[in-house]
């Protein structure tokens, strides 16, 4: 081989990046109660050698997310193996796991600190309205595969669990800003301490995104969000109270809620969450989670969705060697109001939906904990389909720094308001008799850690779907079925304490069919052809020295024929510079490479290179 390409490659890969050598926890500032609840896996990527999780779990740490220099949550998910992320319009996202991607990716459940952000209106997450402060994220846990046994309905293909830091770890104040070729951002946070054991923080984030030049619409977007969190530690356990308010929109000048531009959106909302974790002794942990969440969307000035969710969960973890039993009860009530401009309407326009649930899971360890057997089920009763069972059986065997695991699970996706109650006669009338979509998923996985800091994680799965919802001539039915098979690999190399490189690769194929009397064959074809067969990423994180960081991210996404998207390779890079202890700079270059589409349709912007400069000043 000629010398020049080799040199280029070596230069490129040496220039890439890494683990933060600073401690992951505050050794003298973490209470016993916290220590007992601290998940080893959430602390670092070294998890695998001890992680007993018999599931395809992946953790993005707050540190990694900061290194990416992302504006929004959605962008951080681009470098997780097996997760499909596509920009469908300026600041609108389609995010899915193991197929079925779309603007309504209804088979992935997402939560922020346990608060469900999956919209029961249309099925999916409005990612652009979840504009939390990136600096507050402790970690994002991504579970590929079903999570229905613990998390309930709609966790069919995966769970995205966003966990924010305790206010204890966000003390002090900072102001920050970002100026970019496509976005601008200001943000600020202040942390405080009351008495011995109570901590608080408050933040504000305001961002603006310029219109994309490649669409005929004015699709600029703006978002403002503010929130707080209070954490109290005592012998009565750890108590958290948090809340956010936000307002934002996409499209031409937003005047209140009256918007003119096609495909424009305006949204606003607020939430309040209470969480209490209490160890009554070392063998028993109680957890109460209660929240209320209001979210409103105005789409095109035609459809308005106002949605209030009230939720309470109680969970107990009871250990008696060698077993650990987790059980819980939950109640959720969703009130909505969906006024729509004629000829569309929702019947009824207002609705109250209730979901009662209970679950139990037993984790039994054998032979010195090297073999684990985890069985459990969730029972849920909802107003759409009645009773739903979501059992799973998992097993794992640990040997030689490896973990071999296998699982079978059943998960369901409950029909949405849109599917059941949209009323546009004679064109379309929603179907109240829809059943839940069902998935039976079998997975096997293997993880190994070598002494030299090399890790390998591999998963293979087959997901069998039935009762998938189809759009028939004038209503919807459960007439589609099929399967998705795939493999996910992620080897990772800790080259030095200050330098980590990770490769991710996923391969998946969907095979979807419809019942004989269905007209939805094109819909099935579209699902098959919306899944990129191959996706791959290289992530390199490097602390060059105490002051400089260099992080490089390269991703390949295979073609998506249903969206007329050709395969593409692009890179993101960020350089971090700590000027002083208090002043940090970051230059982020995004989507380096050829301009490309990630989604079809008139709204989809052509994604091209952009650069942004961020500064953060600690006060």
């Amino acid at each position: 081989m000629k010398r020049s390409p080799l040199v280029l490659c070596v230069l490129f890969f040496t220039s890439l990046a890494s683990a933060d050598p600073s401690p992951t926890i505050n050794i003298t500032g973490t209470s016993l109660n916290e220590l007992m609840n601290l998940k080893i896996t959430s602390l670092s990527r070294k998890e695998e050698n001890l992680n007993q999780a018999a599931a395809a779990a992946y953790v993005l740490t707050g540190n990694e997310i900061k290194r990416m220099g992302v504006f929004q949550l959605a962008e951080a998910l681009r470098y997780v193996p097996g997760v499909e992320v596509a920009l469908t319009a300026n600041n609108k996202w389609a995010i899915s796991i193991r197929g079925f991607n779309g603007t309504a990716s209804n088979k992935v459940l997402a939560m922020i600190d346990g608060r469900n952000i999956y919209s029961t209106f249309y099925g999916g997450v409005v990612w652009q309205e979840q504009d939390i402060l990136i600096d507050d994220i402790d970690r994002i846990e991504i579970i590929r595969g079903p999570g229905g046994t613990v998390w309930g309905a709609n966790a069919v293909n995966g769970v995205i669990n966003i966990i924010t830091k305790s206010a204890k770890y966000t003390q002090g104040a900072f102001v920050g800003g970002g100026v970019g070729t496509a976005n601008n951002l200001v943000r600020a946070r202040v942390g405080g301490k009351f008495g011995e054991n109570t901590y608080s923080r408050a933040y504000i984030k305001i961002s603006h995104q310029d219109p994309s030049s490649s669409t005929p619409y004015n699709d600029s977007s703006q978002m403002a969000q503010s929130g707080f969190r209070i954490d109290h530690y005592s012998s009565y356990g750890d108590i958290t109270l948090s809340g956010d308010v936000y307002q934002g929109g996409i499209g031409s000048k937003l005047q209140g809620l009256a918007i003119q531009s096609p495909n424009a959106q305006a949204y606003d909302g607020h939430n309040l969450l209470f969480n209490w974790i209490y160890n009554s002794n070392s063998q028993r942990t109680h957890k109460i989670l209660a929240y209320t969440d209001y979210a409103a969307i105005n789409a095109d000035g035609i459809l308005f969705d106002h949605r209030t969710t009230n939720n309470i969960d109680y969970q107990v973890v009871q250990r008696f060697n060698p077993q650990e039993v987790t059980y819980g009860l939950g109640y959720r009530r969703v009130n909505d109001d969906i006024p729509v401009i004629a000829p569309y309407s929702f019947v009824p326009q207002q609705k109250v939906d209730r979901t009662y649930s209970t679950f139990i899971q037993d984790n039994i360890g054998f032979r010195n904990d090297t073999i684990h057997f985890i069985v459990g089920t969730k029972y849920e009763h909802n107003d759409y389909t009645g009773s739903e069972w979501q059992p799973s059986v998992r097993g794992s065997y640990a040997f030689d720094n490896s973990l071999l695991w296998g699982a079978w699970s059943r998960a369901v996706r409950v029909p949405t308001r849109l599917e059941e109650d949209l009323y546009v006669p004679p064109l379309f009338v929603g179907n109240r008799q829809l059943a839940s979509e069902v998935a039976n998923v079998t997975e096997i996985g293997w993880r190994k850690t070598w002494q030299q800091g090399v890790q390998f994680d591999a998963t293979a799965y087959t997901s069998q779907y039935s009762h998938l919802v189809t759009i028939e001539s004038n209503t919807d039915k459960n007439k589609m079925y099929g399967h998705v098979n795939g493999v996910e690999l992620s080897p990772s190399f800790q080259i030095k304490p200050s330098w980590v490189i990770r490769f991710n690769y996923s391969f998946a194929v969907a095979n979807i069919g419809v019942a004989e009397n269905s007209i939805a064959k094109p819909q099935a074809n579209e699902i098959e052809k919306t899944l990129p067969k191959n996706m791959s990423q290289i992530v390199s994180m490097w602390d060059v020295n105490d002051r400089w960081q260099l992080n490089t991210f390269v991703r390949y996404v295979g073609s998506v024929p249903a969206q007329h998207v050709a395969s593409y390779v692009v890179a993101d890079a960020s350089v971090g510079f700590k000027q002083t202890k208090a002043v940090h700079w970051q230059v982020v270059a995004r989507n380096l490479g050829q301009k490309h589409y990630e989604w079809g349709g008139l709204e989809a912007p052509k994604v091209g290179p952009s650069v942004a400069l961020y500064v953060k000043v600690k006060l």
Partner: protein
């Protein structure tokens, strides 16, 4: 821009292979401290906040914590060396693998790392566990007469306390710690 040049010249696949090869060569056995040991260090610090020794057992208001066996903590324990308990200042000592009781005479707290598993009996039989607060990061330890056993369960580091021994010991252990350490 480099990516673009590479892409244009059609070198992606080759570059991948070179990268992997290069990485394999570059991999060295250096790695950062396992976060589990940060958690364990924090446990040691926390335990000491709940244990009070008779004054005469502490020399110069110093509580000597001896790490016996291979040191997996790296320099993590530097952060608690010199930190305070309600009663004294923490002083960390690394005694290496157990060779005899002589090297442990100054210790108020013993922390036995995994490498000492086979020496547990020899250590516990030759010490007065009522005077020295003993911690091990493996099982069985309590059943052999130790005070605190750290173990990993469900992806978390947990601990058990030997209540029978706690009742007999010369130091005082707060009831809060005892309650959390049932098992």
């Amino acid at each position: 821009m480099i990516t673009r040049i590479l892409w244009k010249s059609g070198l992606w696949i080759r570059c991948y292979i070179i990268a992997i090869y290069f990485l394999m060569l570059a991999v060295t056995p250096a790695y950062a401290v396992d976060p589990i040991y940060e958690i364990k260090a924090s446990y040691i610090y926390n335990f000491l906040q709940f244990v009070s020794f008779p004054e005469k057992m502490l020399q110069e208001s110093q509580v000597n914590v001896c790490i016996v066996g291979e040191n997996y903590f790296g320099n993590t324990l530097d952060q608690i060396d010199g930190a305070h308990t309600p009663q004294a200042t923490i002083h960390i000592m690394y005694t290496g693998a157990f060779t005899g009781i002589e090297s442990l005479l100054a210790c108020n707290v013993l922390y036995l790392t995994q490498s000492e598993k086979n020496n547990t009996k020899a250590i516990l039989h030759n010490l007065d566990t009522k005077k020295i607060f003993t911690i091990a990061e493996y099982s069985p330890f309590i059943s052999l007469g130790g005070m605190v056993e750290l173990y990993i369960r469900d992806d978390k580091v947990r601990f058990r306390i030997n209540r029978a021994l706690a009742k007999k010991s010369y130091f005082q252990i707060s009831s809060q710690l005892l309650q959390l350490g049932i098992g």
